[in-house]
């Protein structure tokens, strides 16, 4: 059994149900990407997996135990989350923000240690923000800031890391930059990554495991090369397209059909 699974969960906000009886398993050591059209429940699923949202029924299991019954700090030492939006306290430096990732490893009796210092330093170096350590976070560019938040999540030292739309609001070169960083963390550090991404082509290029959601149900899952077809894209996103090989990586590349052909098809 995989470390992180959702066992027939029903998810919703107040009375609005987003997903019913949904089950997913996150393969260990994978870079799993959840894709789907707007409002398909992909962020909701990620929020449930990261215990931000309590399922109305069913259970999210971490190492076989209900994630909501485990002590909060214990979960936070195993599973990290980069939320869609975080607030950098006014006037905080990069090093200070990253060191806040050590929170779940500290307590009243266990204060800051040389090991914390080392891990913070490593986290900043592996995300390429070591040079910025003494800069103020609010002076950084969007791409740099996202790297700093990722560094904070890394300092948490969790084998599992969940990222909710980590590329939103970034320019294309920073989007690729952040995704490269994720791929590197996955490959060199062996962390299990789960991300929600908007861009299907980014997902197909970087994911080792893809989960395609529509209306709160899993339509397909597996390696991108195995499951991304024109038929699947039409089924999930309701859009006609061609799927060709990415000339750079050989992964599936989704090319939407030209407007006239789409219009002709829909008549």
């Amino acid at each position: 059994m995989q470390r992180l699974t959702a066992d027939s969960v029903t998810l919703g906000y107040d009375q609005r149900i987003i997903a019913e009886n949904l089950s997913v398993e996150i393969p260990d050591n994978s870079f799993t990407v959840i894709v789907g059209p707007n409002a398909c429940g992909k962020s909701t699923l990620l929020r449930a997996l990261s215990r931000m949202l309590k399922p109305d029924s069913g259970d999210v299991l971490l190492d076989g135990q209900s994630i909501h019954r485990l002590p909060a700090k214990k979960v936070a030492r195993t599973l990290g989350l980069l939320p869609q939006s975080s607030i950098a306290p006014d006037g905080i430096t990069v090093a200070d923000l990253v060191s806040r990732g050590r929170y779940p490893h500290q307590g009243l009796l266990r204060q800051w240690s040389p090991e914390d210092e080392r891990i913070v330093k490593e986290s900043m170096e592996s995300t390429g923000v070591g040079e910025l350590a003494d800069r103020y976070v609010d002076e950084l560019s969007g791409g740099q800031r996202q790297r700093v938040w990722i560094a904070m999540a890394l300092a948490q030292q969790t084998p599992l890391l969940l990222l909710d739309e980590p590329t939103t609001y970034l320019d294309i070169q920073h989007q690729i930059d952040v995704l490269d960083l994720c791929a590197e963390l996955h490959e060199t550090q062996g962390r299990t990554l789960v991300a929600v991404l908007h861009d299907l082509n980014h997902a197909a290029r970087y994911a080792t495991h893809l989960i395609a959601l529509r209306d709160g149900a899993v339509i397909a899952e597996g390696a991108p090369g195995d499951i991304v077809t024109a038929q699947l894209v039409e089924e999930v996103f309701g859009m006609r397209c061609q799927v060709i090989d990415d000339p750079e990586t050989g992964t599936p590349l989704v090319v939407p059909a030209a407007r006239k052909r789409r219009v002709a098809a829909s008549v």
Binding site: P89, Y103, P104, D134, P159
Partner: protein
């Protein structure tokens, strides 16, 4: 079983000390030294507060009164008037500074003041009711009413703010609404009852003048409890400042931290208000000023605020005793008059040298 083994990290050889975060221990030393200096200043201000007043005492007499009490005029002045007043200013100042810092963190609002969640209004409404309807006249009698009012209103604001689903905005809105309603009530009662208005006049501007050993004895346990509680939640409050999701992802308890923070503010602010009336502005200005000195880490902001707030309060009290001799200005008025321009100056300078 949970396996917590962190993944092998891939970083290269350890970097030389003194680079990057290596500078951090140095900054800690500076912050600690700064705190010591602040404590030194506080001791001086305390001495001034005992020595200076309508009748100024030379330091030798202060010393005599403190350590060789023999019942002389100077000794009585020191022991029964100046010392209780100084001690009250000390603990009330610390309480207001801490309450303000906790409130600013809790609401993620740098302009939040301790009264934002209705604590002061609750205390004032309870005191007005006690004077008008129950005929309570002694100052020490107010204390319990003020404290009870503060506590009841905190709970009410928490419930109105959505209790478990409370967020900073909902809490602040609930607090503002309740404060408006309660001050409306306070004003109405004061207008209808001239005698109560007269007695309340001094209480509502905030004054240390009525301090005596009894008042100090009544409020200090609450303030001590509030201080301990506030210092204990510094780290979770740090986490909460980064947004609910991030705090939760780091393993902080949102509801528990918010409830404990509100309890701390109620204890601190309720006790301070009960003893001296609502002294505004210190709780807003000191944490804001401290933040520019220490950066946003509450583990430093809280102790600095607890030391520097009484410096301002006692300093203002001393000034208030001197400027209108032999009468005196209430400390609440002096802090606002003195603090206002200083505060404007500080806010206009974008960022003070970060320690």
């Amino acid at each position: 079983m949970l396996v917590e083994s962190p993944p092998e990290s891939s970083s290269g050889p350890p970097a030389a000390p003194g680079t990057g975060t290596g500078a951090r221990p140095g900054r800690h030393a500076i912050r600690a030294a700064g705190l010591l200096v602040a404590v030194g200043v506080l001791v001086l201000v305390c001495l001034a507060s005992v020595a200076i007043g309508a009748k100024s005492l030379p330091l030798s007499e202060v010393w005599h009164g403190l350590f060789h009490y023999s019942g002389g005029n100077g000794d009585v002045l020191v022991r029964d008037v100046r010392v209780p007043r100084t001690v009250l200013g000390l603990i009330v100042g610390a309480a207001l500074g801490l309450a303000g810092a906790v409130m600013q963190a809790l609401t993620r609002n740098p302009l939040a003041e301790p009264g934002l969640l209705g604590v002061n209004a609750g205390a004032a409404a309870a005191v007005v009711s006690a004077i008008t309807f129950l005929g309570v006249t002694s100052l020490t009698g107010y204390v319990w009413f003020a404290f009870g009012g503060a506590a009841v209103v905190s709970v009410a604001v928490y419930l109105l703010g959505g209790s478990r689903s409370a967020n900073p905005v909902r809490l602040a809105l609930a607090g503002t609404a309740v404060t408006a309603a309660l001050f409306g009530y306070v004003n109405a009662v004061q207008l209808l009852d001239a005698a109560a208005l007269d007695r309340l006049r001094f209480w509502t501007v905030g004054s240390l003048a009525s301090a005596n050993t009894e008042t100090v004895g009544k409020v200090w346990p609450f303030i001590a409890a509030g201080v301990v509680l506030a210092l204990l939640i510094a780290r979770p409050l740090n986490a909460l400042e980064m947004g609910d999701d991030t705090a939760k992802a780091l393993g902080a308890h949102l509801t528990r931290t918010r409830v404990l923070a509100m309890v701390a503010v109620t204890l601190l602010c309720g006790a301070a208000t009960a003893a001296c009336g609502p002294i505004v502005f210190i709780g807003l200005m000191i944490p804001h000023l401290v933040r520019t000195l220490t950066g946003p880490d509450l583990r430093w902001i809280l102790p600095y605020a607890a030391v520097l707030a009484p410096v301002l309060l006692l300093g203002a009290d001393v000034v208030g005793r001197v400027v209108a001799r032999p009468a005196e200005l209430q400390v609440g008025i002096v802090t606002a008059l003195l603090g206002g321009p200083v505060f404007i100056h500080l806010v206009r300078r974008k960022r003070m040298a970060q320690l």
